[in-house]
Structure formats: C-alpha cells, structure tokens
Symmetry: C2
Subunit: 285 residues, 2 copies
C-alpha cells in the first residue's frame, strides 16, 4: 500500500490520529524535503513519530519515483507532505505512477491553507480563483495574477494570494560549476506582496489615469482593504486587516505569509470578524 | 479557553493529535448535533475520545451560546464540528461572542470537503466560487447556482457543488402542534443534483434553442463531463467521472455526496487522473 499523508499546517501534532497510526506501521516513510522546510523540520517529526524518515527532494520525487514506490505492492510505504496531499501536482503524479504499477493507494487528508484561511472570518464560499504571487526580479515582473484578482472582484469574490517560496534555488554562479550551491530559502512576506501589487496599481493608473476611482470600478487602489495572514494555525498566528499601502510597511514576522484581497461587498458578519484584526479602512469600491 | 476543533472528514481517527489532546483535557466538550449526524455518531466518538460529549443543536448554538461559553475564562471548553471550524457562519458567530466576553479562543484546523475534493485530481487552484445546490420542491426551484457555474466556466474554473442536507426539518403537520416532529435526515445524491441541473439545462435550451451548442458557449449540456464524489476520505470513497445525463442514473451509495463541474480546458494531468474514475466523454465545450 502506498499512502500519501497530509501533515496539515506544520506542527508535529497537526497530523491526524489516522495518519500517525499509519506512519508507525509503515516499512518506509518519506518526508518531502519541501515539506521539511515548511514544517518544524525532520528531526522534530522523527522524534514525535518515533520513526526514521527518508528525505525526498524534488529530483527524487520527479525522477526516482520507482525507488519510492519499490515493493509497495507488498509492504507499506508512506509519503508525507505539508497541508493536504493534493496541494501540488507532483503528488498527483506520484499517485498515477503507483496506480500504473498496480499498487493500492490511500490518501490521508488534512487542513491546508486553502481552507484554513477561513480563520480570518471571510467565508470560504465567497472565494474565487486562488492566485500565486511570484517573486519579481529585475527582468521578470509577471502580473497576470492582478487580472485574476480583478475578475474575482467583479464577481464579488475574495482572492487568496499564495506567496512565493524559493527553496533549493541554485545560485547563478553554481550553475556554471559541477557542484550545485543553493541560495538560502526565501519566503515572500505580505509586505513584499503588497509592494509588488502597489507597483502594478501605479502602472495601471498611469495607463488609465482618467478612469481612476471615478466609476467605482473593480480594481485595486492604494486604500483597498487587504488581509495579511502569518503562520496560520500556529500559536504565533497573526492576522492584520489594513489598506494595501499600509500592508507594505508591516512586519508580520516569520513565514509563511498569505494575503487576501476581500471582495467589495463584505457580509456584516465578515466585517465584524475582520474588525478585531485592525482598522477597517474606508474603501473606494 | 474556548476551542473550536475541526473533526475533518468524519471518521473518529480523522481528528488531529493536537485536537484529541485538547479534548481529553477539556472540562466540557460540545458536539455540534449537525456534526454528529455527518460523522460516525456521538457514541462512537465518545468511545474513541474516552470522554462524554454534550450534544449542541442549532437552537442551542444560536440562542444559548452563553451556556456553551459559561466560565470559559477559567476552564477549558471545546466545541467539535465536522470538517474545518470555519465552514459555517454559526461558528464564526460563536468565536465573536467568546471574544466579546474576553474569552481566549483557539482554532484547531482540519480537512474539509473544500480542500479534500482535490482527491479527484482536479487542481484546487483552478476552482472558482463554490455553489450550493438546494433541494427543490413543487413551488420552489431556485437556480441561481447555475449562473455561478457558467461564470466559473467562462473563466476556465472548476465548480464544487455542495449538495443540500436536510437535518432536523420539522414536518409540515407538526408545525401546527405543540410538539415538533422531525423528518428523517435527507442528503442530496449526485443523481438528484444531476437531475435538477438537467431540468435547468432543458429550460434554458427551450428559451435559447438556436444558440444551443453552436458557438462553443460556456454553458452546461447533457453530455458535459461532471465528477461525482461520495464519502470523500473514507474507506468506501467513490469517484465517478461521466456525463451529466449519465450522472442522473448512477448510485454512488450512502451520503455525503458532492458534484464537480470541471472547466472545459482540463490540464493533461487532470485528464489522466480523471480517466481512472470512468469514461471521459467527449465534451462539446
């Protein structure tokens, strides 16, 4: 049997009882290396489970899946991932490979940021498409996520923005060498995300200055209400509701951060809930 | 401290280790009665937790919240709900009341259908607004959810349809009496949902017969691919991908069921994954 087990939001105790029981009975347990960075770390998990874990980096998952799945027809193998197992396509691919080999599979679900964002009081049913905000560099400043946010606003929907994570990125210099060297992991903060969004807002308003703010259009403004979330589900969780321009200068502490762009027609209960997380600013929309 | 603890998809073992530890240390533990119907039932949960549970029906949660929150400034009280704590507005309201009283609150997240639907292989990032399909009766046949599905299709997004649940509905006769009598609980099946959707499709095509299927419009057809899910996360989980008209005549067994309307531009990996769940039909879209 091949299990993919979701570890939830990252504390060792966030695993389900079902998941923990399976891990303890498995012959081999892989920990996705990406997950090991986002969770509390391999050693802490090993101590909690009372079990050795095998670290599986992306290269192993994508190119040596056979090794992970070896003999899973007869023995039990588990693969541990942060959040819910179906958050990433690589896990979907691993499931498909297992089925091709006639290996039975089982999924142990858990919380993920996709549903845990409800903790800010914005109703999950009112969320539209989720977007990802990537780190910009000097030459690459994609902004297609902005149009998706606007499309959600038009339909009265909130947008969850997942913020970029750079893990195991090779340094430019090392790309020339035989031995890869990696940059330290980077996690985009709500402040960095707000900064990039403000740059897009500024660019768009230069292009269409006359229309700016005059017709109650569905677009972002400097004073649009946004919600920043940090370390959701952990004891040090922080949530802040403020304007987009204010969000640029806040520090919500260590990763992971997420940003929400609420729709312009909040339900009274949503407003009441958000108010505990800071000043609710007047919105143009 | 007042805890709201998500029980996940419904097996006793779906609770997180963190949640279980809290329950065992709490002075009072409430089980939302709605949750007790959707989960394995109160007795099984009590046996698993080794703890007596107090059943809290909707009336108690909405009108006697003070009772639930009583002395939670000094003792520990937990409130258990199926899925993730923020799936329903009543829980948001309970959190607000606790904060008003100066009671500290803590949320223990878990899986919910909102993220567990990823198990069919459709990427969560490609889902748009979630819709609810209510039971129709002779006089009341709302269909506004159809327009939301179409809006999602236009933006290339999947739609998760949550299917109606009727729990503790008073019988018409008992409304006249002093003693309320309740109808047995009803859970909409994917077949019933498909039937209602087909009635809407038929009604719309009568209104606009010329346009039907000619311009690759974003709308539903009898042969639109849909995905039915039953008992997600449980051992008896079933997933079926077939046409909307075929879905009308399938039986996926006991509740809970959910229906997904995938977008018209599936990713190759999504197609490959869905193929294991039945015949992938040619779509007009």
């Amino acid at each position: 049997m091949f299990y993919i087990i979701g570890l939830g939001l990252g504390d060792p105790e966030d695993i389900t009882v079902k998941g923990l029981n399976i891990i303890r009975e498995c012959d081999r347990v892989y920990l996705e290396s990406y997950t090991s960075v986002l969770c509390c770390g391999q050693e802490k998990l090993e101590a909690f489970y009372g079990k050795k874990l095998i670290l599986a980096d992306r290269e192993m998952v994508e190119q040596r899946a056979d090794e992970i799945l070896e003999s899973a027809e007869s023995v039990s193998v588990a693969f541990l991932v942060v959040g819910d197992p179906f958050g990433a396509t690589t896990h979907t691919d691993l499931m498909l490979r297992a089925k091709e080999k006639g290996i039975k599979t089982s999924i142990i679900h858990n919380a993920s940021i996709m549903n845990a964002v409800g903790c800010c009081g914005l109703q999950l049913y009112h969320f539209g498409e989720t977007v990802s905000i990537p780190y910009w560099d000097e030459n690459w400043k994609p902004d297609s996520f902005y149009d998706k946010i606007v499309a959600n606003l038009k339909h009265g929907l909130h947008t969850l923005c997942l913020l970029d994570i750079k893990v195991k990125e090779p340094t430019l210099e090392s790309l020339m060498k035989k031995k890869r060297e990696y940059m330290p992991p980077r996690f985009m903060s709500v402040s960095e995300a707000a900064d990039q969004l403000l740059q897009i807002v500024a660019k768009k308003s230069q292009k269409e200055p006359a229309a700016d703010g005059q017709r109650g259009e569905h677009k972002l403004y400097e004073n649009t209400l946004v919600v920043g979330l940090a370390r959701v589900g952990h004891e040090t969780q922080q949530i802040l509701a403020c304007s987009l321009s204010e969000m640029k200068s806040v520090d919500l502490g260590p990763p992971l951060h997420s940003l929400i762009i609420p729709n312009g027609q909040l339900h009274p209960l949503e407003v009441e809930f958000l108010q505990q997380f800071g000043e609710l600013n007047q919105q143009k929309m």
